[in-house]
Amino acid sequence: MNSALILLGHGSGGKLSHQLLDDIIIPALSGIAPEEQNDAAVLPAIDGELAFTTDTYVVDPIFFPGGNIGDLAINGTVNDLAMAGAVPVAISVGLILEEGLPVADLQQVLASMRQAADTAGVRIVTGDTKVVPRGKGDKIFINTAGIGRIPAGRKISGSAARPDDKVLINGPVGDHGMAVMASREGLELTADIRSDSTALNGLVEDLFTACGDKLHVLRDPTRGGVATTLREIAGQSGVDITLEEQAIPLSEGVRGACAILGLDPLFVANEGKLLALVAPEAAEDALAAMRRHPAGRQATIIGEVTAASNGRVLMRTGIGGLRAIEMLSGEQLPRIC
């Protein structure tokens, strides 16, 4: 590459595009040899049901404590498959680059994507690259699609929660959202907060091994946070869920930052957390399995399904009070005083 910046010509389909693909993108993401490059990837035959997901990543800033838009895109896609009980097989990557993006930044993002894919054990098999004029995009947008294989006998759904199910989470909430917000806004008070972005497919496999069909619901509480995700599950399943405020793990940094900014950590985004609803008799096994996994060391039971009802989520507060938890309305905004 002669240029240190992405130029409009890199999206032209001509010589510069081929240079970008051949020199930078394909070697970094997949290493597919030129003779194997065709208009579509060909996947091996897969026995059984497939899971198929897509997502688009537009995070600002693209680099933040604990990760960047690249590993976020891969981890997020892997996790969407894993939350359906699927073993990830292949991922596609669509890159929308803004004219003027430093090539070094692109390389760093691509390297993180490859590393995240290798860690999760999934291959990036196809993709696309476009360049938009300066000001028409925001450095880099990434669209992904993922295909996964669902092993026989797995039935995971947000509508499968049952009364008395226990609600588990694999660690502290709000780290990703607060790390990005702090990085974007230059908030110095949150220097020690890092994104929790990570692939959760290994943890999910351990949960299936420990619980089998006693594992009823899996969901990663990304945008909207734990509160919005549990409201979705309660609504889908027609149950009430009651959380214990004191049981919800929270890092000291996120707790302090939320207190100062007037934000509720239950509504702050996560990228390396999952909520698992399991039958009560399997809850301890699930908890032990989670805690044995690196992504679940701080796993805990945070509540339970209390009734078949119309989809409420309630919180037993630390001092013994009870309050409702609604879905996030719009964006969480810092308060005035």
Binding site: E185, G256, G318, G320, G321, A324, G330, P334, I336, C337
Partner: protein
């Protein structure tokens, strides 16, 4: 002290249970219902967030007052901010709560979608930095808030003056706290037996600022912090005063609030601002309850510096925000609540702010 210690020390369930027992014992033989008003929006949120109302004995009724700065900001202020946002070459800077407040025909959020340059900041000093980076544009900061935030706005004006910035100004709607409490105690339709006085405001103005209320109106005042144990202690102290027929200023939040407050902050405030009459949404004009920029700093007063045509203010018919702000009705009494007025599409300001009574009831009250 670590930030975790700052909160967990005031959330101990055993201490909460002990305080609740003391409150029950205090009011056990009290035959009337006592109405205690939390004046501050952050108290309202704390009460809902921790589920405190349902833990109290039935003799104690907690009602919310006019202490959310966004909620009491009149609609014509929002209309003026919208008109300024439409002015070419203007950047509006504001705390997040304000962008969703509906004006007569628009809101800042809608103007942003239509192309206006509106930026959420965390401090008025952020607005100064934006002004320094955009010399060709006028940067207007929306100065809304009580004594808690006004000193920081004054500090920003002084900083802008020191830096020689000529493209920064403040559209002010600053208010002060004891005045509306006095006004509410003289409302014949409202019987307030005691006030939980705001924590942040009191840190600036001091606990002594409430003496005129207890002396003139015989209403007990307890300056109270925001943690759940603070609120329970504040309720206990108020309940004891009411049962014993006392009316005094007591300070539950003495770890932060001094009798004379923060003189340095007040001095900065008084350098830039002077008292004025102010209109409170739902209450009307309260003499001497506002703060406006002094003539000596008129160059930073957006209202004088940037004349714009402002539409005729229109309040939504049926919205009971005014009555809710005075504690006369509850959100559920409003015909619009949860039906037409929701956080996604708020009609009244009480539903907009994260500290508004209706927003708190919507978010936490559906149990």
């Amino acid at each position: 002290m670590k930030s975790q210690d700052l909160t967990t020390a005031y959330r101990d369930p055993a201490v909460a249970r002990a305080l609740l027992r003391q409150i029950e014992t205090t009011v056990r033989n009290y035959r009337r219902q006592m109405t205690l008003m939390e004046v501050c929006g952050t108290h309202t949120m704390a009460i809902y967030q921790h589920g405190i109302r349902a833990l109290l004995p039935e003799q104690i009724r907690l009602i919310s007052g006019p202490g959310c700065p966004v909620c009491v900001t009149p609609v014509d202020y929002v209309d003026r901010a919208v008109a300024l946002a439409r002015r070419p070459g203007t950047i509006i800077t504001t705390f997040g709560d304000m962008v969703r407040v509906p004006g007569s025909s628009s809101s800042l959020l809608r103007e942003q979608a239509a192309g206006a340059d509106i930026r959420i900041v965390y401090s008025p000093l952020d607005a100064i930095a934006i002004a320094a980076c955009n010399p060709g544009k006028e940067v207007v900061f929306l100065g809304v808030g009580f004594e808690t935030t006004t000193p920081t706005v004054a500090g920003a004006v002084l900083a802008a003056e020191k830096q020689g910035l000529t493209n920064f100004s403040v559209l002010g709607s600053h208010k002060t706290m004891p005045a509306p409490m006095m006004a509410l105690t003289s409302d014949p339709e409202l019987q307030v037996d005691g006030y939980l006085c705001p924590a942040h405001v009191s840190a600036i103005i001091g606990a002594d600022a409430y003496r005129p209320i207890v002396e003139a109106c015989r209403v007990p005042c307890v300056v109270t912090g925001f943690e759940p144990l603070d609120v329970l202690r504040g309720v206990l102290m108020l309940a004891r005063q009411v049962v014993e027929g006392r009316a005094e200023v007591e300070n539950e939040y003495s770890r932060v609030v001094r009798p004379d407050g923060n003189p340095k902050a007040r001095q900065i405030l008084e350098t830039v601002f002077e008292p004025c009459d102010a209109r409170w949404r739902g209450i009307g004009v309260i003499p001497g309850s506002g703060l406006r920029i002094r003539n000596s700093h008129a160059a930073f007063n957006a209202e004088l510096k940037l004349p714009v045509e402002v539409e005729e203010p229109v309040e939504h018919k049926g919205c009971l925000c005014g009555e809710i702000l005075k504690g006369k009705v509850r959100p559920g009494d409003c015909p619009l609540f949860r039906k037409i007025c929701t956080p996604e599409d708020p009609v009244g300001a009480c539903m907009v702010s994260s500290e508004g009574t209706c927003a708190a009831e919507y978010k936490y009250g559906n149990i």
